[in-house]
């Protein structure tokens, strides 16, 4: 609510200034300025409560995944007991809020039953129904058999796993396909091959289904055998078959040169059969070139693509940059490629055409940023890039820019690692902005790194390094309280002052004593007095007096104090 209030007041101010300026578009600009991303708010899927806001990336992932699993539980109940969810209040009808009908309705052996199973993606049930239809002798149309083959080859002869995840899950698990176990083409008693062989007539579509299925699930040499079989039956292939074969080509040959020759061979056959290549063909060719070292081929492929009038998509640039920068992210000679690519990309909108469009690899991103310092704001959404982006910023940029991005990104958009915070502290150190350390320390504690001893040591060493102005001292003292209340002893802390030839100020010692009083540890008070005596501070006598008065001391401690007092008197 307060944020709304602030924007409202801000809007009023803008209106006031606009009326002074009489700029025609100022009203629209003012309105647009009020609708921004709120950098203080967490992700919209989370609850806005301090107990329920995550502090680290691990927590964020945990919470979003728990919410998602809650949703899956609800979906399970809805789909298991659909009769309670049938009453339709909504006008107009909302189909996504009705229970899903995943149950098979038609039981008798018929073509309609087979069609229903294919539509519901039930692979095994469809194959059984087909076999039953074959046994009963019903003639089936070629299209229907082709549909069945498509279904089997798409899912690799296994029933598909239940779908999961909604939009925001894509950010949390960007590579869900890696998590799924890679299925392989079933070698023994493969249903697709069996049905294929008993088909009375096989069309290009049937061959296509089988070849693409084989390539998808790793049976590459079989795919090529199927292709030669197809050519022997005097059928021509279409663009999808060729794309699949080009993707499979690097797997069936050993030497790089042979792989490239096979790909060229396929492309020549494609031209001979008068099949036009599309964007995915060129992507397949570029993927083959991933391990080669000849950059000239990459550029010739790219030029041919342009010559044919196929517009390159994001995945094209990703592949090209991946190949170019594979030799090492610091290959200076190719900076101009990056510049050209960036100039091409900026200001354009891309429609996704290849599954890889969304994923720009971390290495290319890293090298992009290194060379050009132009961050890709839209890519910040995925956390794998964000920490690199932020560490690069800390290394390269001015402290003001770093702080601006810090306020924008953290912690609403991404949660830095301990290393990221250390980089940030180094950036602060380089630019002499150590007075910001108290606020940064608050953030560090909130993120849960406040108990890491190396982090705390680094902060303390940074604080001790600089001669600080009086205003900042009180802040730092406050911070020291926070730290020492947790686990440091004074001896360790004040030891940090010694090697750097800094003298702890008087107010510091007084405040230390006050805090010791709060925790009422007499031994620590005596230690404090000993340390101040070792520094030969002028405040030592008054400290001794205070300790004697305010604390309950044992005999031994009293003796120590009187010894110190007398030595202090003597030095005066």
């Amino acid at each position: 609510m307060t944020y709304n209030h602030i924007t409202y007041v801000f809007f009023l101010f803008m209106l006031y200034f606009i009326s002074c300026n009489r700029n025609k578009e100022a009203v629209l600009q003012a309105l647009a300025a009020t609708v921004n991303r709120d950098p203080t708010a967490s992700n919209y899927v989370l609850q806005d409560d301090s107990y329920l806001i995550p502090n680290s990336y691990a927590q964020f992932k945990l919470f979003t995944l728990s919410k998602e699993s809650g949703r899956n539980t609800a979906k399970y109940f809805i789909n298991t007991y659909p009769k309670y969810f049938q009453k339709d209040f909504a006008e107009p009808h909302i189909p996504c809020l009705m229970p899903e009908t995943l149950e098979l309705e038609i039981e008798e052996v018929s073509e309609a039953a087979l069609i229903e199973r294919i539509q519901l993606r039930k692979v095994k049930a469809a194959v059984d129904m087909y076999d039953q239809l074959q046994q009963s002798g019903t003639p089936l149309s070629v299209d229907l058999t082709n549909d069945l083959l498509d279904l089997i080859c798409l899912y690799g002869d296994q029933d598909p796993a239940p779908e999961q995840g909604s939009d925001y899950m894509e950010n949390v698990q960007p590579s869900a396909c890696d998590l799924r176990l890679k299925q392989i083409w079933v070698l023994e008693n493969n249903n697709a091959e069996r049905i294929f062989h008993i088909m009375p007539e096989r069309t290009r579509r049937s061959y296509g289904a089988l070849i693409r299925g084989m390539v998808k699930y790793g049976a590459y040499s079989k795919a090529f055998d199927m292709y030669t079989d197809m050519l022997n039956n005097r059928l021509t292939a279409d663009v999808h078959i060729f794309n699949a074969l080009i993707t499979a080509a690097p797997e069936v040959r050993e030497q790089i040169q042979e792989k490239w020759e096979l790909v060229l061979n396929l492309l020549k056959q494609m031209a001979k059969q008068d099949v036009k290549p599309n964007l995915l063909t060129f992507h397949a060719v570029l993927r083959c070139l991933r391990r080669s070292r000849h950059l000239a081929k990459v550029f010739s492929v790219f030029n041919e693509m342009k010559a044919l009038g196929i517009a390159p998509s994001l995945a094209t640039y990703n592949l090209i940059l991946g190949i170019v920068y594979k030799q090492g992210p610091f290959a200076k000679g190719h900076t101009e490629i990056l510049e050209k690519v960036l100039d091409e990309i900026s200001g354009k909108s891309f429609t996704p055409q290849d599954p890889d469009d969304g994923m720009i690899s971390a290495d290319t991103y890293f090298s992009l940023l290194l060379e050009t310092h132009r961050p890709f704001v839209y890519l910040i959404q995925s956390s794998c890039c964000s920490w690199r982006f932020f560490s690069l910023l800390c290394m390269m940029e001015n402290i003001d820019v770093v702080l601006k991005w810090y306020k924008e990104l953290i912690p609403s958009l991404y949660y830095p690692t301990a290393q990221g915070m250390r980089d940030f502290l180094q950036a602060l150190d380089t630019d002499n902005r150590l007075d910001l350390i108290p606020q940064i320390w608050k953030d560090i504690k909130q993120m849960g790194y406040g108990n890491m001893s190396d982090m705390v040591e680094e902060i303390l060493s940074l604080m001790a390094r600089e001669k600080q102005s009086p205003e900042s001292i009180s802040n730092t003292i406050l911070m020291i309280f926070l730290i020492q209340l947790f686990f440091f002893s004074f001896r360790e802390m004040l030891n940090l002052f010694k090697p750097n030839n800094r003298v702890p100020p008087e107010s510091l010692m007084n405040d230390f004593l006050a805090s010791i009083k709060a925790s009422n540890k007499a031994q620590q008070a005596v230690e404090l007095v000993q340390i101040s005596a070792s520094f030969c501070l002028p405040v030592t006598p008054s400290l001794i007096e205070r300790v004697q008065q305010e604390f309950e001391l044992t005999e031994e401690q009293r003796n120590v104090l009187t010894a110190l007092e007398s030595s202090a008197d003597m030095s005066d």
Binding site: K67, F77, A90
Partner: protein, 171 residues
């Protein structure tokens, strides 16, 4: 009381119908149906006791203070002049309250506040910090999905957590 009355009545009617079914069906008996006594001057009021029972603001103020010192727990426009669906909204509210009470078992710190905006249903709840946050998110996702499918409208939950019961008065 009401339960024992109705069960006795049921026993009586079954006995009679078993004795002489056809005769009873034709004659038709009218009997008085009464519930237990619920006085309106005792509803939702906590009587002053020894002073050791902690009460929240919501519980401590009696219902005649609604619109004076209290707000409403259920916000919808069906109670306005000329609007339809009053009873439906009330029944939905009752169901939602029981559902959330059961799902977030012993976590609710106060009564739910149910708001309707457009066709959205927003459930605002105040909860104790009894469970770790991931369990809260699990139940939130579950509730939102289930109630959305049940009522065919988007359901959102807004949860605020407190450490312990926010006491206003001791009665």
């Amino acid at each position: 009381m009401a339960a024992s009355f109705s069960s006795q009545r049921r026993l009586l009617t079954t006995l009679c119908s078993q004795l002489n079914g056809a005769l009873w069906l034709n004659s038709g008996v009218r009997s008085i149906h009464s519930t237990a006594v619920c006085n309106k001057n005792r509803a939702a009021r906590i009587r002053v006791g020894k002073g050791d029972r902690p009460m929240t603001y919501e519980e401590a103020l009696p219902p005649h203070q609604i619109a004076h010192r209290k707000g409403w727990l259920s916000h919808h426009t069906s109670n306005l002049n000329g609007e339809h669906g009053t009873a439906d909204r009330t029944v939905e509210d009752a169901f939602i309250r029981r559902f959330i009470y059961g799902t977030f078992h012993r976590c609710l710190a106060n009564e739910l506040v149910i708001k309707r905006r457009g066709n959205m249903l927003i459930i605002s709840a105040l909860m104790f910090q009894k469970m770790p946050p991931r369990k809260y998110y699990f139940f939130i996702g579950y509730t939102e999905e289930l109630l959305s499918h049940f009522y065919k409208c988007p359901v959102k939950m807004e949860i605020q957590t407190v450490e312990e019961k926010v006491v206003y008065k001791y009665l």
